[in-house]
């Protein structure tokens, strides 16, 4: 038997080319190319300017060096405020996204609940946190609190969607097992669903925290507190050496938080 198989191996040929797949692939690449070309004018693409204005840019870039760290204590303090904005914005969003996420799941909620809830979450997601920040600055005044509120609303929209996707992917059998004991619907969620989705939920929340630190660094531009405010002042005042120092601090903090949060996410999954 083994001998026959070895013998047969000599006659193996390659499978024929799948023409349909090759054609599809050419069409897809062509479509992508056409889309890029159509967007050329709209995006005002001027690659030659990079070359023509290169001297200007060198002069401009020169201004950034060497970075001026003389006020580094203030930068770090502002950066810490930014991180605190992200912490509170994310924490509030997690708390609200849990019930909203469950209400958005079609295997838990009835259609008349999950349809409007999903649209509401779409709205919270569709509008950028900068826009919310501008609105909240008007409502609650300049400062970090406006930033917290902006992150809260926007992140609730995102997390509720991610949370509900996790809930929709659960194994329904443990839920039925809990239901069969005579549990209330709330208990079905607590014991049947939450234990199954918790690792994913934690992972999503940490990921959103990372993203929120990045978002919070620019919220200051519209007056919602943190390091962004500082950054905006320096750029507008042509203090490029100071701008460079602030940017370096932002990069270092974001990288450090990304690394920590990635470690944590690996631990829970």
């Amino acid at each position: 038997m083994t001998a026959t198989r070895h013998h047969a191996a000599g006659h193996v040929t390659l499978p024929p080319r799948d023409l349909k797949r090759s054609a599809t692939s050419i069409v897809m690449w062509g479509a992508a190319f056409i889309l890029l070309m159509l967007s050329w004018n709209g995006a005002d693409m001027r690659p030659m300017d990079l070359w023509n204005d290169s001297e200007n840019m060198v002069t401009f870039a020169d201004g950034f060096f060497p970075p001026n760290f003389s006020e580094w204590k203030m930068y770090v303090r502002e950066m810490w405020i930014t991180i605190q904005i992200a912490i509170w914005g994310t924490a509030l969003a997690i708390v609200t996204a849990i019930p909203f996420g469950i209400m958005c799941s079609e295997n838990v909620a009835p259609w008349w609940l999950y349809q409007p809830m999903r649209r509401l979450m779409d709205a919270a997601r569709a509008i950028n946190e900068m826009v919310f920040a501008m609105l909240f600055v008007v409502a609650v005044g300049l400062g970090p609190f406006a930033g917290v509120l902006a992150l809260w609303i926007h992140t609730t929209g995102i997390l509720a969607k991610l949370f509900s996707e996790a809930v929709e992917a659960i194994d329904p059998r443990p839920v039925e097992g809990v239901r069969a004991t005579g549990a209330t619907p709330l208990q079905e969620v607590i014991y049947g669903i939450i234990p199954q989705v918790l690792p994913l939920w934690i992972s999503y929340s940490l990921y959103r925290f990372e993203s929120n630190v990045r978002s919070a660094t620019v919220l200051g531009i519209v007056g919602a507190g943190g390091v962004g405010m500082l950054l905006w002042e320096y750029i507008r005042g042509f203090y490029y050496a100071e701008t460079a120092a602030v940017m370096i601090i932002i990069v270092l903090c974001v990288v450090a938080l990304d690394v920590i949060s990635q470690r944590l996410r690996k631990m829970v999954i």
Binding site: R173, A180, T181, P195
Partner: protein
Amino acid sequence: MAHSIQVTDLNKSFKGVKALDGIDFTASRGEMVALIGASGSGKSTLIRHIAGLMSGDKGAGQVDVLGNIIQKNGRIARGVRRYRPHISVIFQQFNLVNRMSVLQNVLLGKLGTIPSWRGTIGAFTRAEKMEAMHALERVGMAKYATQRASTLSGGQQQRVAIARALVQESEIILADEPIASLDPEASRKVMESLARIHREDGKTIVVSLHQVDYALKYCPRTLALKDGKKHYDGASRDLSVDFLRNLYGANSLDMHIPVPLEVTDEDPIQVSSGMFRKPAAAFGGHAETAMGTA
């Protein structure tokens, strides 16, 4: 004797195909009934209807458990949650919460009978925890109490599920193919646990089984379903090879029909281990034997 389970003219169709066709069935208190039939004959569907997890077709049909209406005319009764604690369900796939400990899983059996706020925040009393430990002890799983359910083998998980059913202190246990995904040794342990509970606690047990020999060994009464219709309802010992061949029809290869069908109390049918070790191979060889005797 009072009826424990009463099913009257129950019908259920899935996309026009009758899964249950005019089923009438009653079980008295303290009976242990086997539910047999080929795959797709309606065994699981019937159990899920009795448990109130699924509703029948509109127009007719009623399920009463312990004198309470579970469903009627295709509608599950409004207060069914109050009756669910009286009915424990054991599932083929155990339906444990994988990421919780064995003890926590067993405690879930208490949810239907303790104040709902306590169940919701998970504040189980010491007495309830002790009761859960005793239930685990009875199925031989006490030493695994702190382990996560996902770390156990299939047979062990099923015994935990039985412990969960025990703390529910229900009068009725419905077991839906509890041993279908288990190896012979685990199957035997699970069936022994169920039989012991039946004997010691006098609970009504309805167990759907894929292996006829287990039905004959552990259950005095058998209800056989074929294409959603009641095909046989009576003493398990009166079942004949011919009858079983007819019951399973073309699917008879699907089944474990025991070779020696004469059941006596002194000589319960021995489950030959060779028959199960390699199910795929054993099915064919076994079916040949069964056909040869006819």
